[in-house]
Amino acid sequence: MDRLLDLSDQLAAAVQRAGQSVVAVHGRPRVPSTGIHWRPGLIVTANHTLQADEDLTVTSPTGESARVTVVGRDPGLDIAILRASESAVPVAEVGDSNAVRVGHMVLAVGAGPRASWGVISAIGAASSRRAESDVFSLDLRLYPGFSGGPLVDARGAVVGVNTSGASRHLHLAIPANAVNRVVDVVVRHGRVPHAYLGVSTQQIPLPEGVRAEGEAGRDRAVIVVEVQPGSPAAAGLLVGDVILSLDGVAITDPLDLRGALRPERIGQRVTASVLRAGRVLEVSLTVGERPDRAR
């Protein structure tokens, strides 16, 4: 038995298998991005690659074009979900991304199919923007058009959705389980609702006394500068409150707060740790859905 040849065959088979469920997404000028037939009729791609909501088409591996509509966008995860009316493209085999470990061998697949190969280099929040969901940092190259395509394990199962981020310098994948949660929300609501508390916040340095009690290295939090009337926040937060954490997750800037408010949390209770008049309080709030046209 030849291990190298076996590995080579296994990698090629994984690309072939994942490639069957991959489409080219035409949502921006020039280089199309990649999409994955995630559930019957629902295609997942990277949100930043869709410049408009209309006149979108996808091309199947066999070259057929089809019109698609946007069902929902989740800019926090950089995921967009499209609906295709009928499709001969098989649904992807989505694996359990919780089983992925640092050092695991993975492939990125782009429409074509095209492929690149590497390992998971880190798992965790790559930036404060994604406080609620860990992301995979990849030691592999995401070529132009790879965003929205599947990150595939050595067996060919989809364990994530690749994105270079709007900056094009990042090499990240959103874990499949996090994508599943967004897709579940879409199946239930028919769209991606946006969770909100109804506060405007600004970053501030933490006062010395509080800093000593907090975790090491944490010296910032956010201060509430506006509470929208009738919003979830109005039930417990006041202008001037300093939000230290939400359900134990540190909030060091307004993006942390946005990242913590995932769509699937709408209707759930969260506990905010708040500094008010020199004392730390626990405030219980119910995450709401942001009304249309509200900011």
Binding site: V15, P113, Y143
Partner: protein, 183 residues
């Protein structure tokens, strides 16, 4: 075979090509005393060729096709066995591949990757083996091989981080077109 054995095997069919101190390229032993390389590695009728033993030998350029970016060089006394060759059909997207060359002057360096895609970069362009693999100047003309050590392409250039290799079928056509009897 492991990667080290594969690299050893490729070192035995890869040569280094230089001109009086001018740059460095690689070449593949295609037939006894015959080496193929990129035409852009060649800058005159004569080159200096070194095998793994580092012994310098004179190479005479038999043919150079600038459009195909391929050249055939005869090296008298080169005691290296010709490379085992693969076929274009054996190159699947995702398959493991290995390049050997002298990137930035490092002799006999191995890099590994996978086949990224096969075909033209732009519509109507020439067909390449596009590899997700690290190449650098000094890899030009060297072998791209499959996991079994069979040469499937000749490394030619880097575009947007992608390694581009001339498929072995095209190299075979070129070698035959030179009129030199080669298998």
């Amino acid at each position: 075979m492991d990667l080290a054995a594969l690299a050893d095997r490729l070192r035995r069919i890869t040569v280094e090509i230089t001109h009086d101190g001018h740059g460095v390229g690689a070449g593949v032993v295609w037939a006894p005393e015959l080496v193929v390389t990129n035409a852009h590695v060649i800058h005159g009728p004569r080159v200096l060729v070194r095998g793994a033993d580092r012994h310098p030998r004179e190479g005479l350029v038999v043919s150079a096709d600038r459009a195909a970016d391929l050249a055939l060089v005869r090296v008298r006394g080169l005691d290296l066995l010709p490379a085992a060759r693969g076929t274009d059909g054996g190159v699947a997207v995702g398959a493991l591949i290995v390049a050997l060359g002298h990137p930035l002057g490092v002799p006999g360096a191995v890099t590994r990757g996978i086949v990224h895609a096969v075909g033209a970069i732009t519509p109507g362009g020439r067909a390449w083996i596009q590899a997700d693999l690290k190449l650098a100047p000094g890899n030009s003309g060297g072998p791209l091989a499959d996991a079994g050590g069979r040469v499937v392409g000749v490394n030619a250039m880097i575009v947007g981080g992608l390694a581009l290799a001339i498929p072995v079928s095209e190299v075979r056509l070129f070698a035959r077109s030179t009129g030199v009897p080669v298998p």
